[in-house]
Amino acid sequence: MIGSDAGIDFSANRVRAMVRRYWYLLRSSWPRVLDLIYWPTVQMLMWGFLQLYVTQNGGPFVRTAGVFIGAVLLWDILFRGQLGFSISFLEEMYAHNLANLMMSPLRPVEFIAALMIMSIVRLLIGMIPVTLLAMWFFGFNLWALGFALVAFFANLMLTSWSIGIFVAGVLLRNGMGAESLAWTIMFLFLPLTCVYYPVTVLPDYLQYVAWALPPTYVFEGMRALLIDHVFRADLMLEALAFNVVLFAAASFAFLKLLQSARVQGTLLQGGE
């Protein structure tokens, strides 16, 4: 059964149809667009001012320009990437439209591809203005990271999609009762992936956990770049390897959960 869900037949047209569906929704609702920008802006301002304060009173580590702002912006890529994926999926559940999609020729892989594209679109709508504000307020230019930013972005997006795919599977299987998972799951990564501090701060046993999570390599890589001015390609490759494993595991879990949803009859309900 998993084979029929994982079918290799792929239509770019059906992916386009789903992207259009989400784009129409975004266009029709200014609060949805505002929400994409509002919280990342608040976060960036809060951490930016904190960095200013600590810089004036702290040691050499915090005096390095932009460590906190860089961390919060990269964290937002990770968090907003997953949220962008999961919210688009939740929109189908809010609209009671999931059954219409699951009985249409839309393949799960096409559905996921559309959600991935929308997570990038939603992220860019939120992040571009925020990165410009970071330049204006704190003189921190995320775009100046150049190729490193591409490597950071790609790895963080891969992780966010993996988590988004897994959450979508749980929602299909368990309905809206699992909605809070979509909003909170990424916060488990916040302390463990060492967004704002080096991995060495963690107790030894938690360092093993941290190094098993791809974003840890990205945040360590960012600190290496901003503090030591070194781009650690080795860290990015390790992150990519872990991401490949995570993405494969999340896709497999999604297909198993979808299969289970068909057995349990939850595709028609989508409710509590």
């Binding site: 789903m18 259009r20 609209a95 009985m103 020729p105 028609l268």
Partner: protein, 253 residues
């Protein structure tokens, strides 16, 4: 089996258990191409679960379902583009306009000449003036017509309907039934209609399957059902079966 003899829907000893309780309990039927069949039964009789298994949304516990020769849900992608479904209980996104909703689904179903098809359906279902309104702002009757338009976009050979006229006023309900009759005549489509509305079933269906507690209690043409149960209307037949009067009568005889 050639295409003409392939049943539109073939259900064989179909069972669906939820935590050991049978929602559908060993039912079998075959619907020939071009037929309209009514699926009757009280709440919890197993109609919606049966339709969900035909659509490939629910995996049977035992038995088989095939649509146009494809086993469901295993081979669903062979036939999903040739079938469709309409129900007032499965909504379309409310914030999207009618045109946007229809155009998204038309693209999902690989409909050719999408704009032309939407314009044609809108004219036929009297939706033209609502095409650029948000779907959520329409009345219940208008939403039903939009759902029907979505269900007809791909000119389905097999159309499943779950209480297609629920919550509609008699005039709109009659209008919907007329459109369904036209569609069957023009396209030769097969339809399976789950309904609580006996007048609807009597008018549209040449065959009626009555379910109770997951089983098929009776299955025949409306005329033969009336005759066999000695009743004047399908509603009386339905009530006899729902309340077990038929069994009492047989026992007394």
């Amino acid at each position: 089996m050639d295409a003409q003899n392939t049943p539109a829907i073939a259900v064989d000893r179909l069972v669906k258990l939820y935590k050991g309780v049978a929602a559908v309990d060993g039912i079998s039927f075959r619907l020939p191409p071009g037929s309209i069949t009514g699926l009757l039964g009280g709440n919890g009789a197993g109609k919606t679960t049966t339709i969900a298994m035909i659509l490939g949304l629910v995996t049977p516990t035992a038995g088989t379902v095939s649509v146009l020769g494809a086993q469901m849900p295993k081979e669903r992608y062979r036939v999903l583009h040739r079938m469709n479904f309409e129900s007032p209980y499965v909504a379309l996104p409310m914030r999207l306009t009618v045109r946007q909703n229809l155009s998204v689904f038309a693209q999902l179903y690989a409909v050719a000449d999408i704009d032309e098809r939407i314009a044609g359906l809108a004219a036929e279902l009297e939706l033209t003036e609502f095409l650029d309104r948000p779907t959520g702002k329409l009345s219940a009757g208008q939403k039903t017509r939009v759902s029907l338009a979505k269900a007809l976009l791909n000119r389905p050979e097999v159309l499943l309907l779950d209480e297609p006229t629920a919550s509609l006023d008699p005039d709109t309900a009659d209008w919907v039934r007329t459109r369904l009759e036209h569609y069957r005549r023009e396209q030769g489509a097969s339809m399976l209609i789950a309904s609580h509305n006996m007048n609807e079933v009597e008018r549209l269906c040449e065959r009626v399957i009555i379910m109770k507690k997951g089983r098929i209690e009776d299955d025949d043409t409306p005329a033969r059902l009336l005759d066999r149960h000695g009743r004047a209307t399908l509603e009386e037949v339905f009530l006899d079966i729902a309340r077990g009067r038929g069994e009492h009568r047989e026992a007394a005889q």
